[in-house]
Symmetry: C2
DNA sequence: GATTAGTTCTATTATATAGAATATATTTAT
DNA sequence: ATAAATATATTCTATATAATAGAACTAATC
C-alpha cells in the first residue's frame, strides 16, 4: 500500500502532470493560485515539492537557462510511477468516500 | 469563500453523513478504519472532530445511555450547512484538478 | 551593476496521530 | 443491595508531521 496523499500533495502532483514539460516551482504556484483563487507563498509550493521529490513521488532535473530576461534557471519536475500510484490510490479512496453521497448531500435539521 | 478542507476533515465529514443518526466518535473511527484498511488511534478521530465542531462544520449533542453492555454515553454529530458548503467546495476543487486527467494518467519516461 | 526569474532556507503555525487518563454505564459476585 | 469487574466511550496531553509565509540567496540578461 502506498501512502495516502494530503490535499496539498495531491494538488502539486496534479499540477505537475497538468503542466507537462513546463512543471517548475513558479509555474506550479501560478497554476494553483489560479485554481484556488488566492495567492500562495513560495514556501507553500517549494516545501512540499521538495518533500515529494525526496520521497520519490516526483523526480526533478535542472533546466537550461532560457533568455527570458535573465533569472536563475528552473528545476523541472516529473511524476514518478510511485507518484502516479499514490494519486490513483488517493482517487480510489475519494470515490469510495463519496459513493452514494456525490451529488446532493441534504442538510438534516438539528435534533437537539 | 469557505475554507478548503484537509483530507482528514473531508473524511470525517463524509463519515458523519454516511453514518446518519449513528455518527459518534467510535463509529466514525470504525468506518474510517474500514475504508482506509488500517487502524486509527482515538486521537486521530476525536481531535479533528472537536476542531470541526468548534469551527462550525459540525454540531453535536449528547446521546442517552443505551443498554448495550454499559459504558459511557455517546456524543452524536451532524453536519451543518457550513460543513456541507465546505464539502461541496472541496469537491468542486477536486473536479477542477482532475478534469482531463481523470482516468489514466500515463507515465512519461525520465528526461534526465 | 541593475534588474529579473527562480530557488533555497528558516521560522512559525496548524494538523494529524498516538495513547494514557478519565468518565459512566452494565454485569457479576458476594 | 452493594462492591468489584468489565465494557464503552470520550477527553486530555504530548509528539510528529505538514503547511505556510517570507527573507535570503543564486544566477541569468540588460
Amino acid at each position: 500500500m502506498t501512502e495516502l496523499l494530503s490535499r496539498t500533495e495531491e494538488m502539486i502532483l496534479l499540477g505537475v502532470i497538468r503542466l507537462g514539460n513546463n512543471a517548475y516551482g513558479i509555474a506550479i504556484r501560478e497554476y494553483l493560485e489560479n485554481v484556488l483563487g488566492k495567492s500562495l507563498s513560495v514556501g507553500a509550493i517549494y516545501v512540499p515539492l521538495e518533500r515529494l521529490d525526496k520521497a520519490g513521488y516526483l523526480s526533478s532535473y535542472a533546466g537550461e537557462p532560457t533568455p527570458e530576461r535573465g533569472g536563475r534557471s528552473k528545476r523541472f519536475y516529473q511524476i514518478t510511477p510511485r507518484g502516479l500510484a499514490a494519486l490513483q490510490e488517493t482517487e480510489k479512496l475519494h470515490d469510495t468516500l463519496w459513493s452514494g453521497i456525490g451529488d446532493l448531500p441534504r442538510y438534516q435539521a438539528g435534533k437537539a
